[in-house]
Amino acid sequence: MKTAAKIFLYISLALLAVWVLPWAWRIVTLKSYSTPFTLYSCVIHDFTRLERSDSKDLTFIDRKGNVYSDEVQPLFYGRVLNTKGALPDTLEGRPVTLALIDSMNVVFDASPKDFNRKVIPVCLLMESVPFRMELQDPEDAFVIRKEGIVLYDIKDNTVQEEKTKAFSDALASQGFVFPVAQYSGNPSHHKSYDEGYLLIDSAGNLFQLKQVNGEPYARRFTQADGIGARYVNITELSSMALMGWFTDGADNMYFLRPDGQVFRSDVKYNPAKESLLGVGDIFYYTIKVSDDDGEKFYALRADDFSLVDSMDRPYEFEKEFNLCKYIFPCRLYFTSSKETWVRPHFVDFSWIGLIVDLAAIAAIVFIRQRRKNKARK
């Protein structure tokens, strides 16, 4: 019993050491690091990064180092330029107005935390075509089970048998194969319209499910058949230019139009590991995919999501002296900015740390043994 207790105690102390001490060291040595906001310019057709000049004005710098004012981004800074009277009448041979710019500007993002979390198999269901035009809080919910979905009236927590059958039949008629592999929806009235849910079935096909006038509306995106969708995200952008995006098993990114058109892009993106930021306008979408090592920018044409340009920006960290590497064989942490799970991650394995620890243990054992021998004599 005593030996077992000692082993348990030593293991606990070792875990505590590799968890708390490297954590404390990181907090002490932590330095902020940020990268400049970067957008593709429809004027100079190059990526421009936003920086403050010596006179504290905002300037845009392209990849060759040329410096521009905000006129190089007339769509992102349309309102500012309009106030100054500097908004161009035409861009890329197309007339532009402030109203058009406002209606077509879009921003969307995603973080690995959105996907690395416990998925609740319960989805609030809104009425997509509300009687009074304004979106209302959901009154129904569907529960996803292995064999199908069950509709609940959430006002009194009762199963709606008829609606369950209607929604299940609607999905079945489109060839949906249960169970649901992944889904995305945003059942909130803080948006201009509702597209319900995008669902991936167990065969990797993509579907939409929403409630229209109390009736089910299910649609299969036939252009996505055979792609093997893995992650999906609904965007419901106010411009209605983009309904959502999804990725396949090889991390290829696809864009989904509200009319059901699917566009494969050259963007490589793994939603479980990388963050996404998309800024779009009438002509181009700038997509930023970032991970621990750096950022990758893609400029896509807004009409067909074809690649126009791309750019890599690796992070340029100054390598800090890592004391823990010389003391501990690894680092343990339980929470991460990439997931909501609390679970142990053993990282940064160090042979030096392992050798140092083994030598320290051997020295302690040796000294203790010597003391014992002396005491016996």
Binding site: K2, A5, K118, P138, K155, N157, V342
Partner: protein
Amino acid sequence: MGKMILYKEWLKTKGFIFGALGALVLLVFYCLLSIVKTAQLNGTETLWVLILQRDYVLVETLKYFPVALGALLAVVQYLPEISRKRLKLTLHLPYPQKKTVFAMYGYGLIVLLAFFAFISIVILIVFRHFVAGELVTRIFATVAVWFLAGIAAYLWGAAICLEPTWKMRAVLIGLLAALLLLLFISSTPEAYNRILVGLFIYVLCGQLLVFNSILRFKEGLQD
């Protein structure tokens, strides 16, 4: 003899148990009142929205009750053993020592489990009425971590109280603090699902520390 030990533990803790029960009833009453009032004033659908979109489990009021219960029960049960020097007598009873120690902390664990069962039954009855079973499961998976913190506080608390030296006591306090930090490091519901079984096994291994403290006490270790 086992029954006698349990009776001794009951005599020591009955005042605390009734006090804790009173506090729990008040907390549960407050918690239920706020849930029922929310449902009455804003509609039952608000409860669904709070759970699904705001990451609430609606019983957050009870979050630190289990850990406080576990720690205080350990203090009430074991501090008199040390401060009034009863432990030596207890260990010299004509009964196997392991069984004596097991009966002591087994009693404490049963008391804790009874409290946790009461909380679980209330959650089950109330929430089954308002939300789907899947959401009740979500609440239970979240509350389970709080219960685990209660058991950890009790077992480690017992080991700390029974430990004869301050040096080892400080080590145990450090370990308990780290364990509780881990158990409350995230407030996201179901965040611990993937390590819940592992944590449960680790927390139960805390029994070894109770026995270790007793053995060290018997060896006559002192600061």
